[in-house]
Amino acid sequence: MAKPVVKKEYTLTERIYLWEILKGMKLTWGHFWFNFKACWRPGPHTIPTCWQYPEDRTREISPVFRGEHYLQRDDKGREVCIACGMCAKICPAKCITVKKGKREEGEEDKYASKTYPASFQIDLLRCIFCGFCEETCPKNAIVLGREFELARFSKEECILDKRKLLLNYRKAKEEGKLKPPKKRVPVVPAPPKPEKAEGGEIKKSKAAAPGKALKKPVEKVKSTEQVEATQNKEAAEKEK
């Protein structure tokens, strides 16, 4: 809804400008003086809102930041990736290539499951850091870490192979920058759309009925709540 424009009648001091200008200058002086004092503090990070980047790397990076990738190992030090290829499939930039390998006898301490990536390549020049690979990975094997300095001296260096990805993991672990394990969001079927009927109660029963046999109780409560919410809305609109 558009906000109605209320034309304000200006007072005399506002029409003369000068007093308002002085008020504005007081405000800017406050900013200036605060930052001027901050400038004399030791260290590269003086002005609180400004990080002098190459010297000052103290800026906190969010744990869900999407930076350079790494491949995870489990707590026994085994590679988690199963080379299912879902990351390669979903990647919108087509920058991931995975080759599957079968685990041999005696390699149980190296790979966590029966299949493993014989080669795993990520082309950083193509990657757009969307994080789809991380989202789709069933084993949480590929993760976008917090490393953001991606400049390299040659094109070949920009292609991350498995060795580099595992090295990234070790580096992140040593620096304590591992991504916290994400919560798996359970896949729930969309709640049935409430049909447009005149009677609220009939609709409710209709909506709840088909879901009864299949859905878990929690979801049912959810869907009924939603239905009730829509009903309330409609009722409110009718009253208007």
Binding site: L18, I21, H31, F32, C39, P48, Q52
Partner: protein
């Protein structure tokens, strides 16, 4: 011969000094802008970024000078020169200190104390508009010509208010010479107020400073180069040192305007309630008066920066309305009141 030598030293000295202030002002403006906007500003070149103007100067001087094909060559080239020349020459009659006695010779700290100093400043100040309009016209660019036209309209209308505000000052001091005006601001009047122009002409001071901001094309009256509307106005097509001359001339203008404000309204080299000249020797008083004057000037230079990063730009019709309907009637009223006072008291 001695007179010539002194004159040359004064001319060259003050020229270099004004240039130096203008150079430092570019740095002050950018650092001040940064600090007001919660960021450090240029801080890489040299200590606290002080060499930034040097780096800018080197960059501007070594850039290729491009003249647009469609530009009118002569006007395009002469524009920046016509803008910066008046800016440099206007400071000639503004004092920068009291006087200094060297080897039995009394040297006044002013390039030349002409008795029409005041009119000289007004005349030279009006010359600056030629640089702007010729640069805008010569560029053959719609934004440039718009900026030039805006500048002309603005400068012409605010010059009236500026002149009228200054006229009241002339009434008060009864002279056109800036040195005589400065000397007249010593001591107190009414027993407690310093004998400064601002206490005798409070309304005149406000009118003058507003009109001066408009004359110098500074925010909030920077319509000739309003970058959000007409790219950068009259110097859209300029690059390299030609652009540098425009930007530089602006800062030199600021120095001159601050000097005039201090000389007319803020007691020049006088401190309130105390006459240091009576206690100090002739040489040290010369230096101290210079320092006092410079401190006052630097406050007004800072005020330009401070106001610039506080206020948004006025709309064009507001600028014209303020000039013609606000400042000029007020200036006339101010003249009337001043004349009445002088008639009744003297």
């Amino acid at each position: 011969m001695d007179d010539w030598l002194v004159a040359i030293i004064k001319v060259v000295g003050i020229w270099v000094w004004v240039l130096l202030i203008a150079v430092v002002m570019t740095w002050v403006e950018r650092r001040g802008a940064g600090l007001i906007q919660d960021r450090p500003g240029p801080n890489r070149a040299g200590p606290w970024g002080l060499f930034q103007p040097l780096a800018d100067g080197i960059k501007l001087f070594t850039k290729e000078e491009i003249i647009p094909t469609k530009a009118q060559k002569f006007l395009y080239i002469i524009g920046p020169a016509l803008f910066s020349l008046p800016a440099f020459s206007a400071y000639a009659v503004v004092p920068f200190g009291d006087k200094i006695i060297l080897g039995g010779k009394e040297i006044i700290l002013q390039v030349s104390d002409v008795n029409i100093g005041f009119l000289y400043i007004l005349a030279i100040g009006s010359m600056a508009v030629y640089g702007v309009i010729l640069g805008g016209w010569g560029s053959t660019n719609k934004y440039s010509i718009l900026g030039g036209l805006r500048s002309t309209a603005q400068m012409v209308s605010y010059e009236v208010a500026l002149g009228l505000a200054l006229l009241a000052v002339v009434f008060v001091y009864g002279t056109f010479s800036l040195r005589d005006m400065s000397l007249a601001q010593q001591g107190t009047f009414l027993g407690f107020l310093p004998n400064w122009g601002i206490f005798k002409q409070p309304l005149g001071f406000i009118l003058f400073i507003v009109a001066a901001y408009a004359e110098a094309n500074r925010v909030p009256f920077d319509l000739p180069e309003a970058e959000s509307e007409i790219v950068s106005g009259y110097h859209t097509e300029y690059g390299s040192m030609r652009l540098g001359l425009y930007l530089f001339g602006e800062y030199v203008n600021l120095v001159t305007i601050s000097g005039v404000i201090v000389a007319l309204y803020f007691g020049s080299w006088h401190l309130p309630y105390i006459d240091l000249g009576a206690y100090l020797g002739p040489i040290s008083w010369g230096i101290v008066s210079f320092c006092i004057f410079f401190l006052k000037v630097s406050f007004f230079l800072w005020l330009f920066v401070w106001v610039r990063w506080t206020l948004p730009r006025f709309r064009y019709d507001q600028v014209m309305g303020l000039g013609w309907r606000g400042l000029i009637p007020l200036a006339l009223f101010n003249i009337f009141i001043t004349a009445l006072f002088i008639q009744l008291t003297v």
